[in-house]
Symmetry: C2
Subunit: 252 residues, 2 copies
């Protein structure tokens, strides 16, 4: 290598602000008052991510191992779980992903014993609701927001009967207007599903993560195509934004 | 929900220390003096991850899209890239993963024009070397550490001829003794490959990431099976440990 190249390489690339946008985005909307209850990660804790395609994120479904990359796919649940496992090695955590693409809340209920109760989670994180609305637009489902609310309440009541000590994390369903799958037909119908999830979280004293508001703030920094091209499924950037919010939630 | 359950759920789970082990682990060995040169992430920057299976991490290889989860797999490169994309939305970054399982340094060279030079990276991160040694133990390769060193130097000299402004990040090859694939036959032979990577990094003024030392520190917190069960391929926890070190390196 020449001396001049070596000298060039030693120069600093012009500095920019530190990698700090995520905290800025999260700071505006998170944490919500009253929604946090101290650190939720217990020694030898079992953590379960449940939901639809956003949680599923291409995970393998034959072995469904805990703490395993292939069994986690590559979405927010992988990112959040990897952060926990790396930062808290002494905790001896067991973390599962059991999200399944396309699920609505009643479909969680159908597989809940096998895919939630039997895993005995200490911390149960659920993100469900976008399909409960979206599939009505697609005319493949005729549930209403009342069905969503009632099914969600019944699911959580049953969960607490069988797992009285479980702590709940509920993610706000979100849709980014202008994404390729999210047009004006989502307005205002989808909003009621978001509000319902928030109300359910309050009712069950769950940690609530306001994903819609977090994404709305992120849209000041980059367009929908950057965070979730179709408006529903997050990009790598969007998944990390969600994971960072999730970690911040459970850090307490 | 009953009042008593509601009261229970409002109690805090006993607090633990904040999620802070990663900084502790990294602090001991990182950053290395002289190895950092300010923030390396340029506006509209192109970033490329290169290497073997640790970098590949199950990525899809038909489309090989930038900034795409399936095209990144689920290893340290996905975790590091997701963090960058999320934290720096205004930077308009384009990030590629072109690691391929089983690669040794000469195999990088064979595909270097297509998989590195033609992508015009501003920042090129390379982790290569464990197979250059491992495959000799397996009797499927007869290269020596001198071959590794000379091939690596030639690869980087050619890279700088064609991309004179590129900044380099070189990861230390690592092997965790006691992993299912790493027994005493690795000692002391593998050490020379680690030292060679460090020397090459110094020679080319690359940012050097001392993965071996970082994992050695992590082993004070949890066993090999936790960070990399076979001693070579990181777990989710191990991949996040690597990604955190990588991010810290390029933050400058």
């Amino acid at each position: 290598m020449s001396g001049s190249r070596r000298a060039f390489l030693k120069k600093s690339v012009p500095g920019i602000a530190a990698l700090s946008v995520i905290p800025d985005i999260l700071h505006a909307h998170y944490p919500e008052s009253g929604s946090r209850s101290g650190n939720l990660i217990k020694q030898d804790g079992i953590i379960l991510f449940q939901g639809d395609s956003i949680t599923d994120s291409g995970r393998e479904k034959e072995q469904q191992l805990p703490n395993n990359a292939r069994s986690f796919g590559n979405g927010y649940s992988f990112l959040a779980a990897s952060a926990l496992l790396s930062r808290l090695p002494e905790k001896n955590l067991t973390i599962f992903n059991r999200g399944i693409s396309g699920n609505k809340v009643y479909q969680l209920a159908e597989r809940w014993k096998r895919d939630a109760i039997d895993l005995r989670p200490d911390l149960l994180s659920i993100l469900i609701g976008v399909n409960d609305f979206w599939h009505t637009l697609q005319k493949v489902y005729d549930g209403t927001v009342s069905v969503y609310e009632n099914d969600y309440r019944k699911l959580l009541q049953g969960t607490l009967q069988q797992l009285p000590d479980v702590r709940l994390v509920i993610g706000e369903p979100f849709a980014l207007f202008g994404g390729s799958a999210v047009n004006s037909s989502w307005i205002p119908g989808f909003e009621a599903y978001r509000h319902t999830a928030r109300n359910i979280a309050t009712e069950f004293n769950a940690i609530f993560i306001p994903f819609q508001e977090i994404f709305n703030s992120a849209l000041h920094h980059a367009p929908v195509s950057y965070w979730a091209p179709d408006g529903v499924h997050p990009s790598m950037a969007g998944a990390q934004l969600m994971a960072s919010a999730w970690i911040r939630a459970v850090e307490g």
